[in-house]
């Protein structure tokens, strides 16, 4: 439990996670650095995040953006499952969410997997060919939240 003071201009809170079956962490280490260097606050959940834990943390921290990174090839399955659960959650359903990495197991499946994941409820899907830095552009374009202090 802690209190977050007024958020300044472009600073956003990002919840960084992966999916339940994915143990890869270099992507998470890298993305955290990248987002922090862009001036955002990052809450990280580490590897193999069970769906329940992810949902609870979204409820608790109310991030401006949920970023899911997954490379083990199960992203299209696990990602779709967890985003459906999120979109069905009465409290957390509106949180903007993106997913990226290697989403399927056969490389060129990126496009099909991406479409399925958008359909399942993600607001943006980064295939492995996307420029990772574009995440900054997305964060910058997010609607500004009311700058009131908020207990979380």
């Amino acid at each position: 439990m802690r209190t977050v003071a007024q958020r300044d201009g472009g600073r956003r809170r990002v919840l960084l996670s992966t999916v339940s079956s994915d143990a890869h962490t270099w992507n998470l280490v890298f993305l955290r650095m990248l987002l922090e260097e862009m001036g955002h606050e990052v809450v990280g959940l580490g590897p193999c995040v069970p769906d329940r834990l992810l949902l609870d943390t979204v409820r608790r921290t109310r991030p401006d953006l949920l970023v899911i990174s997954t490379v083990n090839g199960h992203g299209r399955l696990d990602g779709a499952r967890v985003i459906r659960a999120l979109r069905a959650d009465p409290v957390a359903r509106d949180v903007p969410a993106v997913i990226g990495g290697k989403l399927g197991i056969d490389g060129d499946e990126g496009a099909a997997a991406a479409r399925a994941l958008v359909e399942a409820g993600f607001d943006a899907v980064f295939t492995d060919t996307a420029d990772t830095a574009l995440i900054g552009r997305i964060l910058g374009a997010l609607p500004q939240r009311a700058p009131e202090g908020r207990a979380v």
Binding site: W26, V29, F30, L34, D106, V118, A124, L134, I138, G140
Partner: protein
């Protein structure tokens, strides 16, 4: 937060599944080791039993020793067997074999496909009990893991829990196996951990500690792993240390071996880079004393590999391991290194850990809690995270923060801040390095990529107006752009229909030079196996943009009698191939995606108009295009004043003929009367073409003569040929090809890094800065080849190392290599020390101008010496371009052309040096030696010299018009009595492109409109070198307008841009290599397609797919704010 493993299958009783199980892993490895063979093994796991069985069968029927692998999927690792079952039921792909979900019966059936080879289960679970039980029930007793290494990198199970689980499960596994008459084998994963950026000492320590842990639970057969890291020497040290510690700590009765993992971090993206890294790991395994190697595949960076890819990787590993003695000499043998540092650090870590508790598991838990073991960059809660590591300047892994590690005092950390960019750089270090090494070796450009496709999004077509790209001039360059346009569109169709207009006045596809109707005497100069127009090799699918046959592969099908990979094809055959390729490209792209229009026309005018271009064709038609690609090939500029004088002389005299320089097939040679005397200016490749046109082209033929020589049987319709040039000697032959199309040469001294570093200091002086390093490289190959021939590969290898050392010493002290031929001398000196006899140093100048300034008593004397010289050249060429010292070292100059370009292109050289040293001196010199025809053409020349139909005038040949006799004349001032009168003068030199002298064609008009400008190399000191090449920007090669700005809707590729870039006359790519030829075309295709994707409902964020909520917010044009 930990998942409790659900109640698993009951412990196996003997007889649960009764089949003769697979062989004992430890035993199989020992057997192979006795035969001196490395056991190779894949990382392979598929969801379906049949696919998995097929994979095992393929692996286990290879001729060399292999171990079959069942790699489990991620659901099974975390104990989510329910999800695994659901995915199986839904037919969803998994990233491995769900062993528990399939159960022991299915697993046993699958494992049976391995026959009598061992099968190992690789899983990555911190809670291995269910997996072990199912395995043993299926008759399998070999697995992998460890309480630390299957915990910290693999999830969020607390370490203590993992240790407890592993302890119980391992003991049970050993017992159950024994009950079934099997010996449990466990391999540590501690030598890998997170796969990258962990100093070897910690890997060695954890690997050993996990082996001790296994032994403590009753396992009697273990393997200790180590994963290849960033530096080969450091890796050998680590393997040595691991072996020593294992011998020290493991009880003598425990069966053991070392197992090496091919690089486990971010993998090279290019197939060649990946292959290089894989080959090096095999070499490392052999030299480092590992007995088993777990391989990776070239698909690693992108996706899970197929069975075929796995099998190919195993074959290549076995091959590379067998090649051990020839290796590149970078990897020392285990006996040659001092494991001192790694050993001391690892020993300290092991001892400090084992002091904590007698039970290794407990000791491990405590060591991590105390930070005595601490893995850099590991996010696991039970890892302290106080350490950090980095790749140092030499490529070795080093501690930058040591936290509480009990390391010996001499380990000094070097803290360094790590940013996201720096982290990615270090993670990519090995990948990038090998991608680059592979490229450099292949004479290739700046980057390569196994290009991953973007999402194939095709929003509804709002605007049916097609997006049009005009390719002006086809032939190989134009076609290469077309091929990449089609390949890109096939992967990612544009939201609007795209049309490509391929315009060529001669033949759409082949173009002028390669037109299909040309006579058969017109031959290529590159062997057919090394030529392709496709940017990727053929696959199972139809030939199409991005994947098609090489010229040879196509030729073989089209004309099996004539086709041979090491032969040069007639140019017409290449033309047919190009035409065929264009058809294939057109037919395999859907009409709605790309529509091709072939226009056999000349473009008269081209002008910008409202953001597009308006082209008019010679039939008066007008065409609007969004982008224009100029790939117009060899230009035909106005004659120079000297040439004009000769032409005018002939014009006034009906008996005389002057034929201007052009491709031989476009020369009006038919009118030349038999028996007339024809002067031929130039002794280069065109000379060979002109000779062919006037001999075999006139019905003569070459027939075999004694000793491999040829004899010419004249038709009687030949003229007499009198040729001459400054050098007096025809282009020398290329060595017989001994390098496969996949050949890789990695320069050691004349490297891209070195040249880039030099270039950073400002414009280069070719002679002082660049040439010495090139010569050193050439000398290195020259001497190494000679030494190898004399004494074998070991000595050659020792020499290479000594030479590099000598060069390093020689240039370190002296400050710089400016002046003189320092590094070449150092290399040659080393060769002499290594026993080189009977060879002088490489002397390109003397080789290129062999007669120096000698004077000859008469044409006969000259002719005889020349013939002797050419015969000698034929012999040298027959020795081959890999085994013959002379041709091998000359071939190196071709191999490093890419590096030369790095030095020269886009004003790399100071203007004076560019003009005088490079283009005025070096290029003509090496062209004589390295760009020549295949050896058979020299044999033909000799036959023609022999029968008197051809005469070569002599050095410094001068061609003049003699008003007194009314004829042309040629003579060599250095050959007495060489003056000859001529009826016809043929200029057999392809003219250099010269925009300034462009006349009456599209190019001239574009110049006059200010859209094209000649390239001027301007030095910082105001010096200038004005050339006739078209000035272009760097990739994607927009022309630079008269106002100095790029014309962004246009591109210029190939010969017209010579001088801005060097050696643009390349007319094909190399099969299987993503080289400069494809990369240049692709850069243009990518840029040209931007317009087709812009301003639509598709996302402007390439590779990102947006959901409905963000569509409108984020698809507005590019000016997004960045936080």
């Amino acid at each position: 937060m930990t998942r409790q493993s659900p109640p698993g299958p009951r412990p196996a009783r003997p007889g649960a599944v009764r089949r003769p199980g697979p062989a004992d892993l430890g035993e199989a490895v020992a057997r192979a080791a006795r035969e001196g063979l490395l056991v190779v093994q894949p990382r392979m796991g598929m969801a379906g039993p049949d696919a998995m069985a097929a994979g095992l069968r393929a692996v286990c029927s290879l001729p060399h020793p292999t171990v079959g692998t069942l790699t489990l999927d991620s659901y099974t690792r975390v104990g989510d067997h329910g999800l695994a079952r659901a995915a199986l039921a839904a037919g969803e792909p998994l990233n491995g074999f769900p062993l528990v979900a399939h159960g022991p019966h299915t697993t046993a059936r699958v494992a049976a496909a391995a026959g009598d080879r061992p099968v190992q289960v690789r899983h990555g679970s911190a809670l291995p009990r269910d997996i072990f039980r199912t395995m043993v029930a299926a008759g399998l007793s070999a697995s992998e893991g460890g309480p630390v290494s299957y915990c910290l990198p693999y999830g969020r199970t607390p370490l203590a829990e993992s240790v407890a689980n592993w302890r119980a499960a391992t003991a049970e596994f050993a017992g159950l196996s024994a009950e079934r008459g099997l010996r449990a084998h466990l391999e540590t994963f501690g030598g890998c951990l997170l796969g990258q950026l962990c100093p070897p000492s910690l890997l060695v320590a954890v690997s050993l500690l996990e082996a001790l842990f296994f032994v403590q639970q009753g396992v009697t057969s273990v393997s200790l792993s180590y994963a290849q890291q960033t530096d080969a020497r450091q890796d050998v040290e680590a393997l040595a240390a691991l072996r020593m510690l294992a011998d020290e700590w493991l009880p003598p009765g425990v069966d053991r071996h070392l197992v090496l993992y091919t690089y486990m971090g971010v993998f090279p993206g290019s197939p060649r880079g990946a292959q290089l890294l894989m080959d090096r790991s095999a070499e490392l395994a052999v030299r480092g004393g590992a007995r088993r190697l777990i391989v990776k595949t070239p698909a690693e960076a992108v996706r899970l590999p197929t069975v075929e890819e796995n099998v190919a990787a195993l074959r290549s590993a076995a091959r590379a391991a067998g090649r051990r003695a020839v290796g590149d000499g970078r990897v020392p043998y285990v006996g040659e290194v001092d494991p001192g540092e790694v050993l001391a650090e690892a020993r300290a870590l092991v001892e400090a850990t084992l002091e904590l508790h007698a039970d290794v598991g407990t000791a491990l838990t405590r060591a991590f809690a105390a930070g005595l073991l601490d893995v850099p960059f590991c996010l696991h809660e039970d890892n302290r995270g106080l350490t950090q590591a980095a790749v140092d300047g030499e490529g070795r892994l080093r501690w930058t923060r040591t936290g509480r590690l009990p390391l010996p005092r001499r380990t000094v950390p070097h803290p360094a801040p790590v940013t996201a960019a720096r982290l990615l750089q270090m993670l990519r270090y090995t990948a990038d390095r090998h991608d680059l090494l592979a490229l450099e070796a292949a004479d290739d450009p700046d980057w390569a990529e196994l290009s991953g496709p973007g999402p194939a999004v095709r929003p509804p077509e709002a605007d049916p107006e097609p997006y049009r790209i005009a390719v002006v001039g086809t032939g190989p360059r134009g076609l290469s752009v077309l091929e990449r346009l089609a390949a890109r569109l096939a992967e990612r169709p544009a939201p609007r229909p795209v049309e490509v207009c391929a315009i060529d006045a001669h033949e759409v596809g082949p173009g002028r030079v390669w037109r299909t109707g040309q006579p058969r005497w017109s031959m290529m100069n590159t062997v057919s196996g090394e030529v392709t127009i496709y940017s990727g090799p053929p696959d199972d699918g139809p030939a199409r943009a991005g994947a098609g046959p090489s010229l040879y592969e196509w030729w073989r099908d089209a004309d099996p009698e004539a086709a041979a990979p090491d032969e040069c094809a007639p140019r017409a055959v290449y033309g047919q191939y190009l035409a065929h390729a264009l058809d294939r490209i057109e037919r395999t792209v859907p009409d709605g995606v790309l529509r091709l229009h072939r226009l056999r026309r000349t473009v008269r005018t081209l002008a910008p108009e409202g953001g597009r271009y308006l082209l008019t064709l010679d039939d008066g038609r007008r065409l609007r295009a969004d982008r224009v690609v100029l790939t117009t090939g060899h230009p035909l500029p106005r004659l120079t004043p000297d040439q004009q004088e000769l032409a005018s002389f002939a014009e006034r005299r009906p008996r005389l003929t002057y034929v201007r320089g052009d491709s031989a097939i476009d020369m009006p040679l038919d009118g030349i009367a038999p028996g007339s005397v024809v002067g031929v200016i130039g002794l280069g490749l065109s000379f060979y073409d002109v000779v062919a046109a006037l001999t075999t082209g006139r019905g003569g033929r070459f027939v075999p003569d004694a000793g491999g020589a040829l004899r010419y049987e004249a038709s009687g319709r030949e003229p007499l040929l009198v040729a001459g040039a400054r050098s007096g000697v025809p282009l020398r032959a290329r060595g017989r090809n001994q390098k496969g199309p996949q050949h890789v040469y990695r320069p050691r001294l004349f490297t891209r890094e070195r040249v880039r570093a030099l270039r950073r200091r400002g414009p280069l002086d070719f002679r002082a800065d660049v040439l010495p390093w090139l010569l050193a490289e050439v000398e290195l190959v020259h001497c190494a080849t000679a030494l190898q021939r004399a004494y074998g590969p070991d000595i050659a290898e020792r020499f290479r190392q000594e030479a590099e050392e000598a060069v390093r010493k020689g240039t370190a002290g002296a400050g710089s290599s400016r002046e003189g031929r320092g590094p070449q001398e150092a290399v040659f000196g080393a060769a002499v020390r290594c026993g080189l006899r009977g060879h002088g140093p490489v002397d390109l100048r003397r080789w290129a101008w062999p007669f120096g300034d000698r004077v000859f008593s008469g044409p006969q004397a000259y002719q005889e010496e020349l013939a002797a010289l050419l015969r000698q050249d034929v012999e040298l060429a027959a020795e081959g371009n890999a085994e013959g010292p002379v041709k091998a070292c000359l071939d190196t100059i071709r191999d490093v052309r890419g590096v030369l370009r790095t030095a020269v292109d886009f004003s790399g050289l100071a203007p004076r040096s560019h003009r005088e040293d490079f283009l005025g001196d070096f290029v003509p010199m090496v062209s004589r030696l390295t760009t020549g025809p295949p050896l058979v053409r020299l044999r033909q020349l000799l036959a023609l010299l022999d029968c008197g139909l051809l005469r070569v005038t002599g050095p410094d040949a001068r061609f003049t018009a003699d008003p007194a006799s009314g004829r042309f004349q040629v003579h060599s001032p250095r050959v007495a009595g060489s003056r000859t009168e001529l009826d016809v003068l043929v200029d057999a030199r392809i003219p250099d492109p010269d925009l300034r002298r462009a006349d009456g064609d599209l190019t001239a008009r574009l110049r006059d409109q200010g859209l094209l400008t000649p390239y001027v190399n301007r030095g910082p000191d105001g010096g200038e070198f004005a050339t006739g090449g078209v000035a272009v920007t760097g990739s994607p090669f927009h022309p630079v307008r008269a106002d100095g700005r790029p014309e962004k809707g246009m591109y210029v590729l190939g010969i017209p841009s010579e001088f801005t870039r060097w050696f643009t006359q390349v007319g094909s790519g190399r099969p299987g290599v993503w080289g400069e030829f494809a990369a240049d075309a692709d850069a243009i295709a990518e840029d040209a397609l931007h317009g087709a994707h812009d301003g639509t409902t598709a996302t402007p964020l390439t590779g990102v797919l947006l959901g409905p909520r963000w569509h409108t917010a984020l698809t507005a044009p590019d000016e997004e704010t960045n936080p």
